[in-house]
């Protein structure tokens, strides 16, 4: 500790004790049912208490660890690789496997201990929450893709949503989230690509899928099918790049925040992490699932070829 840090720590300690005394005094002086205006000094003292405590803790951490804030961050597009039994495996792959294991364990515990207690007559809060979640996913899938029976699609979508959310949470433990690795997001995009073709062929047959790709006019089909094939192949690429870019954006902002704050980074990254590690990934997961469903629906719909006979002219609109 040099002189500057001792002075800073002393200022912090004095401010902390002053605000503490002020807080105690103002909270004692309050009448029984205080109005908002009477509460104001107490609130101000509390805010000052928090800020001076943060300042003091930050000064001590900076003094003892020697960490200072800096603007440079180290970032690599792809995750580091480790050698495992001679295979070169990305670290995010191992994190993803760990997240999957944790999820399986959690859901197995729920299945063994909580679900047998459910009954139809008197649903508890856990049962209601689970039913609401399942119903929400069911409705989302049905709204997006119509009435075609797809029993395995809602569970699949819920599974990848949970998986991605678990991956986003793994960032809170200081690991690099698997969703911020291009290989992981591209694998998810490939899943969507497979499902898109699978359901398209299952609903309309191979010829139907070709018709769907070619559009309604038969003469245009030789031109349209290669074009549509290219745009279908770009589906996993665009899904992967979108998720990757969003997640890396969040990761970079958080890294930058931690780097800039240095030793003073106690408490603040937690508040920022609420947005960048919880809400933002949740929104992106929703968008990923909705876009996947839209692409699947697009692959299933079949436009009818227009008939050659002339349609009767439309009745003139009555002008109101």
């Amino acid at each position: 500790m040099d002189t500057k840090q001792i002075i800073m720590a002393a200022v912090g300690a004095v401010a902390l004790s002053a605000f503490l005394v002020g807080y105690v005094l103002t909270s004692r002086a309050l009448p029984k049912n205080p109005t908002k205006k009477q509460k104001r000094p107490k609130t101000l003292c509390f805010v000052g208490l928090l800020i001076s405590a943060w300042f003091l803790v930050g000064t001590f951490i900076t003094a003892f660890s020697g960490k200072k804030g800096h603007l440079a961050i180290e970032f690599e597009m792809f995750s580091e690789r480790v050698d495992l039994f001679g295979f070169s495996i990305a670290k995010t792959t191992i994190t993803g496997a760990g997240v999957l294991l944790a999820l399986i364990l959690l859901l197995a515990l729920v299945r063994i201990f909580i679900i047998p207690k459910f009954n139809v007559e008197t649903p508890g809060s856990a049962q209601s929450a689970l039913e609401m979640a399942v119903e929400f996913v069911d409705n989302t899938v049905r709204n997006a893709t119509g009435e075609f029976p797809m029993k395995s699609l809602p569970p699949f979508m819920l599974t990848i949503a949970l998986y991605m959310f678990g991956c986003a949470l793994s960032e809170l433990f200081g690991l690099r989230a698997p969703t911020s690795d291009l290989t992981f997001t591209f694998a998810l995009g490939l899943c969507t690509f497979f499902l898109l073709n699978y359901y398209g062929i299952r609903k309309n047959g191979v010829l139907g899928r070709l018709k769907n790709m070619g559009g309604a006019v038969p003469a245009m089909r030789p031109v349209m099918i290669p074009l549509k094939a290219v745009s279908d192949i770009s589906v996993p690429v665009s899904l992967a790049a979108r998720l990757y870019g969003n997640m890396v954006g969040g990761l970079l902002v958080m890294d930058l925040l931690k780097g800039v704050l240095g030793g003073y980074g106690s408490g603040i990254p937690a508040v920022a992490g609420l947005w960048f590690n919880l809400i933002h990934p949740g929104l992106q997961i929703y968008i990923f699932v909705t876009l996947s469903l839209t692409f699947i629906d697009e692959a299933m719909e079949l436009e009818e070829t227009p008939k050659k006979e002339k349609k009767p002219k439309k009745a003139k609109r009555s002008e109101a």
Binding site: F75, M77, A241, G245, N246, V248, G249, I287, T290
Partner: protein
């Protein structure tokens, strides 16, 4: 030089995506105000459209990262 290129890329992409999302949101607010009972459907469509509009900016962000982190 790479940093200047990354900056220019982000400037153009963010301008475009911002205008697109702003236009979509203003229209969605109009529609939801006119028909409040359709608000949830409009919200879904809006989110989808915003994601698509945003994706151009995201692609540009990835390209800018590739340039800047060389």
């Amino acid at each position: 030089m790479n940093f200047i290129a990354a900056g220019i890329i982000m400037l153009g992409a963010v301008l475009g995506a911002g205008f697109g999302m702003c236009y979509a949101t203003s229209k969605a607010v109009d529609a939801a105000a006119r028909q409040p009972e359709a608000a949830s459907k409009i919200q879904t469509i809006l989110l989808l459209g915003c994601a698509l509009a945003e994706s151009t900016a995201i692609y540009a962000f990835v390209v800018a990262l590739l340039l800047a982190m060389k």
